[in-house]
Assembly symmetry: C2
Homo-oligomer: 314 residues x 2
């Protein structure tokens, strides 16, 4: 047995040699752990991208670290820099402030830096910035509402946690419905939270005798809204438009649920795009420095299957 093990190890060493000779490059990927739905999807897609790229490019090696808090993420990145000789870092920062200095240190070492979704506290550290399109998310949502309600109607709108992201989304939405027959009865912050949105929707239902549709603007908020509608027994609400492409909601759209006729992407798989583009940067001469804003796409029954990932938790 012992002899066999030694032989196997020797064999592995022999097989590994040509790959090492090819100048293996290591890409570090540092992301928040799967603490909630979107982050769960993000973790799934990061692992999937790493698995795919390790197949495609034998000369690339990956270190994927997930962190439950900013301090752990700082440690992860410092470790990648100190012990893994990374050629590139792909990071979705837990928070901007604490991560800025360790990511700066990676950039100073000469390694490539790709930042995803949330910016750092100092501009210009990263080589590549990959982010979602918040104004576009609102625009696509608003355009869908207009097309789904050709004769106009009364809607209520759910906002997220008060942030620039939320402001941009709402501004895009308002511009898109401007001049249509859609009348916004009320807007309240549901804080991207099911329970908050349940309570807000209960309040809306008691205030307004007729609501034609709801822009919930997020699938977690949509779930709270749907629960409140169901509890009320009301049948005036024709549909609820969520967003971000949660698995269960995509399935309902795919299966023709009339209450959930559409969705708008703000994809957690943007982490995969960031990893893929970083790999392109390390394996080709194509320039990948710059800013990639991933468009928000409308999902309807027609294309929902393309956006349903059976193995993803989100």
């Amino acid at each position: 047995m012992k002899l066999t093990t030694v032989t196997a190890a020797a064999l592995v060493a022999t097989l590994a040699a040509p790959v090492m000779a090819q100048d293996t490059k290591v890409i570090g990927v540092s992301i928040p752990a799967a603490t909630h739905g979107w982050a769960g999807g993000m973790n799934f897609h990061a692992q999937e991208a790493v698995d795919r790229l390790e197949e495609v490019y034998p000369e690339l090696d990956f270190v994927l670290a997930t962190a439950s808090d900013p301090a752990k993420q700082v440690d992860d990145i410092e470790d990648m820099l100190a012990t893994r000789n990374i050629s590139a870092l792909v990071v979705l920062p837990f928070e901007s402030e604490p991560l800025t200095s360790p990511v700066q240190a990676v950039a100073d070492s000469g390694a490539w830096v790709t930042v995803v979704d949330r910016g750092l506290a100092i501009a210009g550290i990263e080589d590549l910035y990959v982010a979602g399109d918040n104004p576009g998310f609102g625009t696509v949502s608003g355009e869908y509402m207009v097309s789904a309600m050709p004769d106009g109607g009364d809607i209520v709108v759910f906002r997220g946690i008060p942030t620039t992201i939320d402001n941009e989304r709402v501004a895009g939405f308002e511009a898109a419905i401007d001049g249509s027959g859609i009348n916004v009865l009320a807007m309240e912050h549901g804080n991207w939270n099911r329970d908050d949105s349940f309570a807000v929707m209960q309040d809306f239902l008691s205030k307004y005798d007729n609501i034609d549709a709801v822009w919930a603007s997020d699938d977690d908020m949509a779930i709270g809204v749907l629960a409140a509608i169901e509890e009320s027994g009301r049948d005036d609400i024709q549909f609820v438009l969520g967003g971000a492409g949660m698995k269960e909601m995509i399935a309902r759209t795919r299966d023709g649920d009339e209450m959930i006729p559409a969705n708008v992407t703000y994809p957690p798989s943007m982490i995969a795009t960031a990893i893929e583009m970083t790999a392109v940067g390390l394996t080709s001469t194509a320039p990948v420095s710059g800013t990639f804003v991933i468009g928000s796409v409308l999902i309807t029954q027609e294309n929902a299957a393309e956006f349903y990932y059976p193995d993803s938790p989100f």
Copy 2:
């Protein structure tokens, strides 16, 4: 001989079969022919990306067509759609107007559309838009001038053909030098042309007894400027900053030529980025719809070798 040919053909068919079974996808690439320097580089990088990706992805097939005028490009695209069953089109439009309708037809067929550098006449046709960063090109250029002239100085500025692109570049430059000790003696349009810029620089040299540096803002214009300076025998001009990364100019920076200490990218290799990202879209689940603005990067003697492509004509 005949028998051998038949056997070889049969062998090819046998070898090709598993690939076909893998559901081969065809990416069409339609670009202007290499009629001038930047387009020459663009053609080189398109071919290089196609060659690389055919190696990496046996399941992808490419059709690369170059056109000397818009009518030929329209034909190329219609042909790709009619006879090549393309899954995706990467197009750098010769002109916006005539290309809009044929590219729309490709999108309507359900194929993916990536547009590079110049937009179409109607917004929203493309899935992915890849472009250079004109304001950033000006900003990086201005920041370099400020760092290279810590005590300030008198400069002259060359503008391109009057266009939005030119306005954005100049606005970025002016903002970057604002509040520094750099004084712009004059700005004139050299129209991205060597001869025009030679004449403008002759005029500047006769008007101003002392010029510390020149923002030529383009390598073709820089060549005209350098010729005028050389002819004048003047030695007050310390350096000329061009742009776009022409091969000969990158070499001079790399080799330590003090008159050409830097360059700013507006890379013709952006076509390679567009082709690579389209390939990522067809081979992975990573979303690649959206807008990728490729950053303009400062090239100095330190990193010039990375931007020198010995086999490219540009």
